[in-house]
Amino acid sequence: MIEIENVRKSFGPLEVLKGINLTVPRGEVLTVIGGSGSGKSTLLTCINGLEPIDSGKILVDGIEVHAKSTDLNKLRQKIGIVFQQWNAFPHLTVLENVMLAQVKVLKRSKAEAGAEAEKQLKHVGLGDKLSVYPSRLSGGQQQRMAIARALAMSPDYMLFDEVTSALDPQLVGEVLDTLRMLASEGMTMICVTHEMKFAREVSDRVAFFHKGVMAEIAPPEELFDAPKDPELRQFLAATH
């Protein structure tokens, strides 16, 4: 379970998170929507400790992420994150990309890591690309590789930060399909996305962020069909 309690965070004079409270139980698929600068991406990087927070706390399975005593490297094994930029390691083959952290962080043997990497890459439909370098892959394929790389660490939670925003339109579908598959398998996921149709389809709950505040959170039918927050209504009108 991910528990976010009254989290505040500023970049200089700009307060990007103004007291966020949110609990994500295991198995839930939560999507986060909102305009740019609403703080939704920052929240994700705070959850796995890539960004410090100013006040409040974030607990992942009861472990306080920003406590000094927390071993962040260990905690991050539980929490996979995939970014807008797919960040393939260009000097490693697709298989090696997915193996590296398994060998170095989880101390798996090469054989074990290779088998797991192959399994995850097949899972996301890249079984025939194992030995090529990322530069030979399309953006969508690189993004799926990044997802496989995160999944190979056997995380309990997956965070997706606008994973389709940097893709050409015709490549968005394949990545969303991968996310749908994960959702149907019961993975606990927080997806920051601009894909409203996707959000409506896969989410258990949808949260709307506006100017650093979580303005509304509800099951998708309720949030999309009967939005209460005026800003959300405006946002939905603009995106439809």
Partner: protein, 217 residues
């Protein structure tokens, strides 16, 4: 018909000089690179503000002509501190620091060339700072820094001619000895140049080979 007084023994003298050039260069580039990596990483990690004193010292090594550094270091170490140091040791010491000063900048540039988003991805997979440095930054920065580093190594090899000032008989000094004796400056300088070429060329080619191999991915 071309005639020369150059004997096989003279050629052996030149070869020994070339050996000395190689030795001084190898030692200086080896230690200079290790120091340069340490300085470069420290400089990157602590930021330009805190690194200012270190950068200043390195700038001194980069801006004062090597010849002056050698003379001053030699005088300071042997005459002022009264250390029993050979010219060879002084030469290697000065040249190592000189190399390190340049190498530190190459290393910093190499590290900065690795996109932060890539490093963040590595850290988000649970990799520690050291694991990120070794497995992501090192290989990628090396690819970027290699051409400059090869240039530095070749430059140091040629700059090492200046260590004659602290009584190290390297390739150019050996040539000068022969010029004084045989009075055939152009011919001897040509041979000297060939020696330099023979020891530099493989290094340059090796660099080219690595670049080509790495460009495949």
């Amino acid at each position: 018909m071309f005639d020369t007084a150059l004997t096989v023994n003279d050629l052996i003298l030149l070869a020994k000089g070339a050996g000395m050039t190689l030795l001084v260069t190898a030692i200086s580039v080896f230690f200079g690179t290790i120091l340069g990596i340490v300085f470069g990483v420290v400089r990157y990690q602590i930021g330009p503000w805190w690194a200012a004193p270190m950068t200043f010292v390195l700038d001194i090594f980069r801006s004062i002509p090597l010849l002056i550094q050698l003379v001053l270091a030699n005088a300071f170490l042997t005459a002022v501190l009264k250390l029993k140091m050979s010219g060879f040791a002084v030469a290697c010491g000065v040249l190592s620091l000189y190399t390190a000063a340049y190498c530190a900048e190459i290393v910093r540039g190499g590290i900065e060339s690795v996109p932060l988003t890539l490093r963040r991805a590595a850290r988000s997979l649970g990799m520690s700072w050291g694991q990120d440095m070794r497995n992501i930054v090192l290989p990628l920065a090396t690819r970027v820094a290699l051409p400059s580093w090869i240039g530095l190594a070749l430059g140091v090899m040629k700059d090492s001619a200046l260590v004659y000032i602290v009584q190290v008989v390297e390739l150019l000094k050996s040539t000068q000895i022969l010029i004084t004796r045989l009075q055939e400056p152009l011919f001897l300088l040509m041979i000297c140049g060939m020696f330099y070429f023979v020891i530099s060329f493989p290094i340059a080619r090796f660099g080219g080979y690595l670049e080509k191999r790495w460009s495949n991915d």
